[in-house]
Symmetry: C2
Subunit: 305 residues, 2 copies
Amino acid sequence: MFEQLGLIGCGLMGGSFALALKKAGLVKRVVGYSKSPSTTDRARQLGVIDVEAPSALLAVAGADIVLVAVPVAATEATLKSIKHLVTPQMLVMDVGSTKADVAAAALRALRDQAGSFVPAHPIAGKEKSGVEHADADLFTGKQIVLTPTQQTTQAKLQQAREVWTALGARVISMPPEAHDAAFAAVSHLPHLLAFALLYSIAGQSYGQDYLSLAGPGFRDFSRIAASEPQMWRDIFLANQDELLEQSKRFQQALYAFEKAVKRGDAQALEGMIALASETRAQWRMGAWPALQTSAGQAPSAPPQP
Amino acid sequence: MFEQLGLIGCGLMGGSFALALKKAGLVKRVVGYSKSPSTTDRARQLGVIDVEAPSALLAVAGADIVLVAVPVAATEATLKSIKHLVTPQMLVMDVGSTKADVAAAALRALRDQAGSFVPAHPIAGKEKSGVEHADADLFTGKQIVLTPTQQTTQAKLQQAREVWTALGARVISMPPEAHDAAFAAVSHLPHLLAFALLYSIAGQSYGQDYLSLAGPGFRDFSRIAASEPQMWRDIFLANQDELLEQSKRFQQALYAFEKAVKRGDAQALEGMIALASETRAQWRMGAWPALQTSAGQAPSAPPQP
């Protein structure tokens, strides 16, 4: 049980974390701060936070758990602004979608207090952002990836694991670099491809006519193209090395498909589609091969660039 | 009311059409043929067809409506095999996902009987194929694109429109080339991209670990990658010119995104993502801008290659 959650950033993710902690009976009060006073005000009216703080630093004063739920690009400045009140007893986490940059930012910003910081990435979200859509059950049954820095203490990592588990989430931990390589492949690149497809169609003379004929396959494929521009701009820039590496590998695959099409090589084409189709058919969301044999163990680390 | 449906190909699409006609009380009996006798047998057991025909030609004998629901690559041979029994009174349609190749095949195969043939593409489907999944309501509320050939008579086009409308579908007609350009953009290319992504990830040393971390965005984006290999092999080969043209345009868009990422040009990147995001957010499945002002009119024709 925590005395006080210091919530910095009262949006969908931060608001949902506050509501989830409250619902689980894990926190006595929530002190919240948002860059926009109207957001903080709205969060209080909705019962997401109990007290409005006039600054990030003051949201941390007296807290024993802190969640930094701001855009990834603002993480370092936020951590710098609260550093003086971070203590070894405090658990500090973020919710960003990239982790190597956050881990590095935390070491720079928190210095001797970096042991309290556990970078976290909840694999959860909604198409709509904002505190109005905050949901106490957002993390139930979802996966949380913790990516401890070189300074994160074992005690804080364990405490973070317990908090998210108590919220009904499934926790895995891995190095920040492994996280970023994996998410470049299965999240950041798919977003880039979906954005590029819509951008390409929108730029064609008959693009709107084409779109009027699109069906359920297009609907599902392109859903993520409606995601928030600022957030994805920041993710692409923060994880650009891994993203560009995955995009390069993807383009090699696309080129191989195109070559088979141009040559009219039906056999090669069918074989390549079959490999993709079987891989997708066998995939199950939330199936953690590594965890099934050894609870708490991370999947093997991906190759480092 | 039709006396007899000659159904060639008793799979998901053909079976659903037969069931839908029966449910609407539009046909007295269904005579079916499939390449595989066990499929035809199963279709009869399930009540999808009433009588098994030993050949495609014999399924057409005595029919006043014929549906060719075979893989696109088999359309020409099928039409050739039934040509001698096609009459000007008969309505003959297919359900293929590409249309310029089908229209050309019909002119070659049916010659002086080509007036009876109306190429059709129902924008409907399921992830599972086979007559077991045939569904009388598959076309309800769905869109049907009719792409008359130069020989298709106005009377047959009108009759085709009435049949699909009676099944609860919404009908639009356009030239086969316009259809293929549009579907290359909003269906065939998305499938190609989804296949290439899965193929790329499957080929990486840590691909399975990456996949174990994928969430809801990946799930929806990649759903179409589980589609049937033979069918998509045929579609890619049949519509390769339009597909490769759309793929080229897509790669130009992807390159522009990558350039902005590499340069760290946050403003350009955000602008491009915003255009994509707004385009997708404004899109509604089944919203037919051209039809809202003038029923039955096709959207403007896309540029010819």
